[in-house]
């Protein structure tokens, strides 16, 4: 019998040497052509020139002739120019919104993962629902509520205050929009990690005389650190590239984020396309640490699942 298995394995391995990469090939070629090459195009545009007639960026594909002046402009703008202000604002928005997501999201995820006994599916459906409701629709819902004649102003008036121009460029409205938009994306992975947590460890802690508070602080919280971090990174990445939330909930230059600036460079004033490409790369580099952290985390989880 052993020899049989070995023979089969050897034969299969002989085949697998090319079979499995061949399976992966279409997807990998696709990603190479439509994911890696596009990034090269971004660099080529950032390093390129303007055409003289239509003032459009012309990419420079040859690295030997790259002209890094758009990077110079973008970096000068970030360190000491108007872009720096936008970058700082973006960082503050993302940081405050992420913190609020943790404060609101953790109890919710904890409750549904650990404290719900009955109708768990129903609670979970509630957590999942916003995840699958279109982001733009959820923002549209708030535009309705925060409008001059919306429910929020009616409530404010009913309790005796003056109605406010909520959509007129308020930091707190944009941050709340970000929290509202991205919170479901934080709660879900956190829920999954809290749900996976080994209940025996907790029971052991309790058996050893830890109070519920102690067992939460000493066991659950440290064990969920990973889930919190992963969730925070998962929402920070799209927040750093967001432009639609401030656009829909404000429209004032006071609330512009880096994403708005990229959107403007690329889509509205195409003679600045080179700067837009350079800013995109700078953004990528700036958040590369977050991306890498998350990637390694997924790989670790995958490896565990594999074993």
């Amino acid at each position: 019998m052993p020899t049989n298995v070995q023979a089969a394995e050897t034969q299969a391995v002989g085949q697998r040497a090319w079979v499995w990469p061949a399976f992966a090939a279409p997807g990998l070629i696709w990603l190479a052509l439509l994911f890696l090459v596009p990034f090269y195009a971004v660099i080529a545009v950032a390093m390129g020139d303007l055409d003289p007639i239509f003032l459009k960026p012309v990419p420079e594909w040859n690295p030997l002739q790259w002209d890094p002046s758009s990077f110079g402009r973008v970096l000068a703008g970030i360190f000491g120019g108007q872009l720096g202000r936008i970058a700082a604002r973006t960082i503050v928005y993302v940081a405050v919104a992420s913190l609020l997501c943790v404060i609101i999201g953790y109890p919710v995820a904890y409750f549904v993962a650990r404290r719900v006994q009955k109708h768990k599916g129903l609670w979970l459906t509630g957590l999942l629902a916003p995840f699958w409701i279109n982001y733009l629709m959820r923002m549209l819902a708030w535009v309705n509520l925060l409008g001059p004649d919306g429910w929020v102003n009616r409530f404010v008036e009913a309790i005796g205050f003056a109605p406010q121009d909520w959509l007129g460029g308020r930091h707190e409205v944009v941050i709340l929009g970000l929290v509202y938009g991205y919170l479901p994306f934080f709660i879900l992975p956190l829920y999954a990690s809290l749900d996976r947590m080994d209940k025996q460890v907790l029971e052991a802690a309790r058996d050893l005389g830890a109070s519920p508070v102690q067992s939460f602080l000493r066991v659950t919280l440290p064990m969920s650190k990973q889930g919190i971090l992963a969730g925070v990174v998962l929402i920070m990445l799209p927040m750093f590239g967001d432009y639609y939330t401030p656009n829909l909930l404000s429209g004032s230059p006071r609330t512009r984020m880096i994403g708005n600036q990229i959107d403007q460079f690329i889509n509205q004033t195409s003679s600045q396309g080179g700067d837009g490409a350079a800013l995109t790369i700078v953004l990528m580099v700036a958040i590369a640490v977050l991306m890498l952290y998350y990637l390694l985390n997924i790989q670790k989880v995958t490896k565990e699942a594999r074993e």
Partner: protein
Amino acid sequence: MAFHPRENWDPRTRRRLYSRREFLWRAGAVGASLPVMSALLAACGDGGEDAVAEVVIGTPSNPATQPLSDSNPMIESGMAAEAGPLKIYNWADYLNPDTIEEAKAALGVDIELTTYFNEEEALQKLISGEVNFDVWFPVASTVGKSVAGQLIQPINHDYIPNLANVWPQLADPFYDKGSQYSVPYTVYQTGIAWREDMVDSADVDIDNPYDVFWNPKYKGITGLYDDFRETLHMVMHRQGVGNTPDATQAQVDAAADALLELVDLMDIRYSIDGAYAGIPEGKYGLHMSWSGDIVAAPYYFPEDGDPSVTRYLWPAHGKGTVRANIANDTIAVLKGAESPVLAHQFLNFMLDETNAVNNFGWVGYQPPQNGLDVDSLVADEWVPEYLSSAIVLPEDFDNDRGEVPIQLNAEQEKMLLDAWARVQAGG
């Protein structure tokens, strides 16, 4: 936003869906810019045997004749029309669908309309050769570069007798003397729109009407266009500099600084739809406005609203001495047209007064037709009386206080864009 019917469209109600100035570029549909300049690159790479043509930029004081080239001939006179279909490339919602139907009947061919949301996108597609159309609608300041880039072909005037209907000021325009490559389509001014129930008209009707945008009485209800040229020009008009391409860095910086003041002084917002949609909604009481936008505004008022509170002023018609922008769009025949004769016939069709005014009713932007004046447009209810100030007059183009934006060269455009980026970064 699109709550006006296209079906059963009644020309008397002049209903329309969007302003063509709602460049959804910010708001949607962004699409493309950044063309492939493969032709140009090839030209440069070949050691310049086919050197890149110079862009000829005309100014009102120094009108330009766009160069003719052997490699871009005009069609012969007296040719028979092609079988079609005629392929038109235009801004979204910038042609009345009924007018297209009428053109189909008049020309006896099918018409295919393809639309775009901003000119960058259109240019990109035309340059790359991704698309193949017969007729295109460039703005006046794009004509020069379109000739240099050989996107459009010279027009044979024998096919276009209706050019005689066009205001003399635009039949021989400074950007394309002799209308060699383009015919005018619509005209518009850049002015100030407000609601009389929210803004005191006396605060606008002052020596420098632009100052009203800096009047803190109207904090929170004031908006400006999200358009770097128009809005920076507006401030430069306010500061007496004008839209001149010779503006210095210091003058442009001063304009940007003035706009930055507005962030806290006025809670200023930038929009592209504030004039025709935001004012009716009451979101804005005061907004920069193209004349064509505010003409459309009454149809965006809510059912229980009163559109007659809308007011418009072109500052060049105001009390003082400040200047203001006035501009026009054009129609041109593309160089690669497969049906150039049909395209010429279509240009002629659009310059017919009846067709032009029917199209205006839907589009909201006014054609420069000799037969139309304020009295007839108001009497025939194309424009309500209270907005008659938004009707563009031929003499506005001769007005010393009216300034036509001209094509910027790379450094000028860069200067404005850098200033705009600073403005958009906010306070």
